[in-house]
């Protein structure tokens, strides 16, 4: 039987549709990592599973019981799920031992001794037995998060939901928390992890969900998603692509504004000075080449420029369109170089994987920076 089943889950806040119909089945022992840009609804999805947000439509089944049904005992179903928060959310007025034992004693009827024993076992597993008496404010973020994981394990949950468990941590403390989650993964605990740690997701998860536009945009094994993403938004996300676009509508366009825009874009994402120079040079030469040969004599022009920078392999791709007659600036005999063709020569030497297409009155030129 599946631990979690979600059918057609929809939720909106005001006019904003955050989730537009999520369907998901989580089987016992599955470890699902949810990735996606900020604001794609991945955290809201976890909050819906705990019914901290009330969905507008759809059904949620936890271990066969419908959480979204009328008159159901939500508190009882929630005990089957553990939740680990970005901000730990330990009870600040209780020490570590009280944090761990309060729920099993009060909700599961565990005796104080049993709960204490179990808590000590869990603390030993995460290496924090010495902190039994400490209050959360005296613990580091990494320690607090490890305690928080123990707190949810105390209830013997069928599934644990992790909501960006390392996002609020110092980089030095991320490792210790990930190690604990890895340890749980080895024990085949069912879990859903919302995370920005791609390498970790790849290593620990059995299935990756990529959220975009309020839906599961693409899903698959870690290998499928990270090595061969299929849909454009997944590719852009996995390759950490950044975009810059510029549109030219008249011959007397503001070249300085364009160059400045490219400069700012390059600085923001850490392109090298050489890449930046070449990028600016290419764009300038290409634009003037097209203005001269395709739109000669016209004042109104239609040129678009899209630059994509992929952080993951440090590559820059340029997509260029220009309306007008068919013209390929590199379609020349470059053996006879003369002053006239200087721009085209520069372009030829800087472009890699160059392609030109003429389609419906528009020249489409694609290449990447050498």
């Amino acid at each position: 039987m599946s631990v979690i089943e979600v059918r057609g889950l929809k939720i909106s806040f005001g006019d904003l549709q955050v989730l537009r119909g999520i369907n998901l089945t989580v089987e016992v022992g599955e470890r699902i990592a949810i990735i996606g840009g900020s604001g794609c609804g991945k955290s809201v999805f976890l909050r819906c599973l705990e019914l901290l947000e009330t969905p507008d439509a759809g059904q949620i089944f936890i271990d066969g019981e419908e959480l979204t049904a009328q008159g159901v005992n939500i508190d009882k179903i929630r005990r089957k799920m553990g939740m680990v928060w970005q901000k730990f959310n330990l009870f600040s007025h209780m020490n570590v031992m009280e944090n761990l034992t309060v729920a099993p004693i009060k909700l599961l009827g565990m005796t104080k001794e049993d709960a204490h024993k179990k808590a000590m076992e869990l603390l030993a597993q995460v290496g924090l037995t010495s902190k039994e008496e400490a209050y959360p404010e005296y613990l580091s973020g990494g320690q607090q998060q490890r305690i928080a994981i123990c707190r949810s394990l105390m209830m013997n949950p069928k599934v644990i939901l992790f909501d960006e468990p390392t996002s609020a941590l110092d980089p030095t403390m991320v490792g210790e928390v990930l190690a604990v989650i890895r340890m749980l993964a080895k024990k085949d605990l069912t879990m859903i992890i919302v995370t920005h740690e791609m390498n970790f997701a790849r290593e620990v998860a059995t299935k990756i969900l990529f959220f975009a536009d309020g839906e599961i945009y693409e899903q698959g094994t870690p290998k499928e998603i990270f090595d061969a993403p299929k849909r454009p938004k997944t590719i852009a996300f996995i390759h950490k692509q950044k975009y810059f676009s510029y549109e030219i509508t008249e011959r007397a366009f503001d070249l300085m504004e364009l160059q400045g825009g490219i400069q700012t874009f390059a600085e923001k994402y850490g392109l090298t000075a050489r890449q930046t120079n070449r990028l600016q040079l290419c764009c300038e030469e290409l634009i003037y080449e097209m203005l001269e040969h395709v739109c000669s004599g016209e004042n109104i022009v239609e040129i678009t420029l899209d630059i994509t920078y992929a952080e993951i392999d440090n590559s820059v791709a340029i997509k260029f369109t220009c309306a007008g007659k068919n013209y390929n600036p590199l379609d020349k005999n470059f053996d006879e170089i003369d002053e006239e063709n200087l721009g085209a020569t520069i372009l030829k030497n800087l472009a890699k994987n160059y392609s030109h297409q003429y389609d419906g009155g528009i020249n489409k030129i694609n290449f990447s920076l050498a």
């Binding site: 705990e50 901290l52 508190d75 009882k76 929630r78 005990r79 799920m81 553990g82 939740m83 928060w85 901000k87 959310n89 330990l90 009870f91 600040s92 007025h93 309060v102 729920a103 009060k106 909700l107 928080a148 707190r151 949810s152 209830m155």
Partner: protein
């Protein structure tokens, strides 16, 4: 020698000390009862103020801004000479009603600010563990609310004691009135009034001391 004679004459002779003790008792009575009812009524007000029912919210808001925005002596006179003028209520009861109303408005506001300072995440954490709304309130909200609200509550209590010094206006013989009477009888306002102030000071520091004790016990 002369000074100690004077002290004896003002504070002890002919049962002066008994009169002072009686006045102090009246002050303590009014303060304690007002604190009790004021805190209860204030919690209720706060509940309305942050609640979802629009009408109650508005009523609480208007009540709090009127009471907090006007001198407590005016409220006392309004109730004593106006609202309850024909009922023949004892002045002390009117004073307790007045100061309860006044304290309630302040308590409601201090509770509301404490509520806003609360970490919602911990409440959600308790809910996801499986605690019901009420259990989570008892387990997380209440103890944390008490801890946040305590320092402000402490000064509300001390302020309340000091504010009660105006009840002499409605014929109540409280500590301030007694001191005033003695001062005019003995023609020694300096020493008498300083003596009265010391009694108020001791009372205030007693309150601080009590709060301090509970804090230490909590830490242990």
């Amino acid at each position: 020698m002369e000074f100690t004679d004077l002290i004896y004459k003002i504070f002890l002779k002919d049962g002066s000390w008994l009169t002072i003790l009686n006045g102090l008792w009246v002050t303590v009575q009014i303060s304690a009862l007002s604190l009790l009812f004021g805190t209860m009524f204030g919690s209720l007000l706060c509940f309305f103020r942050v609640g979802k029912i629009k009408l109650l919210k508005l009523v609480a808001q208007v009540y709090i801004s009127i009471v907090r925005g006007s001198p407590v002596l005016m409220l006392l006179m309004l109730l004593f000479y106006g609202v309850f003028a024909r009922q023949g209520l004892s002045p002390i009861i009117v004073a307790v009603i007045t100061f309860s109303m006044h304290t309630a408005a302040h308590v409601a506001e201090l509770l509301r600010s404490a509520l806003m300072a609360l970490d919602k995440g911990q409440l959600e954490a308790a809910r996801t563990l499986g605690f019901s709304k009420f259990q989570a309130f008892k387990l997380v909200t209440l103890p944390q609310l008490a801890r946040i609200a305590k320092p402000v509550y402490q000064s509300t209590v001390v302020n309340l004691i000091q504010w009660t010094s105006v009840v002499g206006y409605v014929t109540i013989t409280d500590l301030t009135r007694v001191i005033n009477n003695i001062a005019s009888r003995t023609m020694q306002p300096m020493i008498t009034i300083i003596g009265g102030m010391i009694i108020y000071l001791v009372l205030s520091y007693l309150i601080y001391g009590v709060f301090h004790l509970t804090e230490r016990r909590q830490k242990q």
